[in-house]
Symmetry: C2
Subunit: 191 residues, 2 copies
DNA sequence: CCCATCTTGGAACGATCAGTACAAGATGTG
DNA sequence: CACATCTTGTACTGATCGTTCCAAGATGGG
């Protein structure tokens, strides 16, 4: 029954991340987390700490999984700023289309529920979003956008990412999501 | 102490709406709702029914308050599809800038937490979003957009609205929000 | 083989959840 | 003034919340 750990810590964390992702922080009860991970209460608390700590580790796990995909897609070279936005949103669309993973986006769902999350968790979400924003901005500059244009388009692409998460949760079709992404990638430079 | 109602029903509903808006369905506990409305449990349940019913009435109240603003802004005439999008997003920005009201958007926050909301509530949120989408589409057609363009821009503007709600909750500055709206309104017709 | 160390599942904790029951008090009608 | 009706605050329900505790069992080092 016990002695050495009976489960894979990283796999358990991946499942816990999915529970937070699917249900949001408030609705991700310890019961749902134990059921989702297959762990008992003792193992869960002994390995990851309390719910807030587990949530933060889930955020880290999320970043470890998806940040590299964004980095890679944005690493270019890209012929134009529009291509950068398109590449970025394609990663998002692919994640949303993945049936092995909940709808939406853990970061966006968490951001929408900020009052339910403690200060450390909020700060972490904000920092992760800012990191993506910075990567986007750098890629846009590399693709030839001037400074202000890069800042604007990075923000705009980030916003589209958030909207895709919300719309997918609301049941919008993948065709609609693709349309949103396509229109966003169509955005021109400054007038 | 009692006899005839000691409070204004509509004002109480407005406050309950703010509680759901600020906290989201899960975190809007009955205690928070009683505190936010000033009503006792008895009055709350006697007047509005259970939490789910109160939530649905709050959604209605929300629509009553903001739908006319969107209708009016979209009623035109508008010189171009872009102007329609700009007018729509301006209403959203004004609502977000209103300090008397919580950040974000009740519909968007609710959509992000769908698993926490029962089927009736979900259906209502979806219906309300679809209604805005239809109004937008009609306004875009009236401003000269062809059918497919109108559909695309309506969806895109709706998406931007959702992203503004999420970003404002995450603490993005009003300048950033204005930028997102401005870039979204800059979108051209089909290529 | 013994024992300190660790893991595990389940029991139990107090707090809070949504919802109900009800007595006390206020009202308008007769 | 009396009485049926309605409102209100509070006490209470059972369920669930996050968290802690702990005995039982498994492990590996001495």
């Amino acid at each position: 029954m016990a002695g050495r750990k009976q489960f894979d810590v990283d796999e358990a964390l991946r499942r816990a991340m999915h529970v937070f992702w699917r249900w949001g922080y408030s609705e991700a009860s310890i019961d749902r987390l134990t059921e989702g991970t297959g762990l008992g209460r003792g193992s869960l608390y002994g390995t990851f700490g309390d719910k807030s700590a587990l949530f933060r580790k889930s955020l880290e796990r999320y970043a470890q999984t998806y940040h590299p995909l964004y980095e890679q897609a944005l690493s270019g070279p890209h012929p134009s700023p529009s291509a950068v936005v398109a590449a970025y949103l394609e990663v998002t669309l692919n994640r949303i289309a993945d049936p092995a993973v909940p709808d939406g986006c853990l970061l966006t769902m968490s951001a929408a529920q900020f009052p339910a999350i403690d200060a450390e968790g909020q700060a972490m979400v904000r920092a992760m979003i800012d990191r993506v924003r910075a990567v986007l901005e750098r890629a846009l500059r590399a693709a030839g956008a001037e400074e202000q244009e890069a800042a604007e388009l990075a923000l705009s692409a980030l916003a589209t990412n958030k909207s895709l998460a919300v719309l997918s949760r609301t049941g919008f079709s993948s065709a609609d999501l693709a349309t949103v992404a396509a229109v966003a990638a169509r955005v021109p430079g400054r007038r």
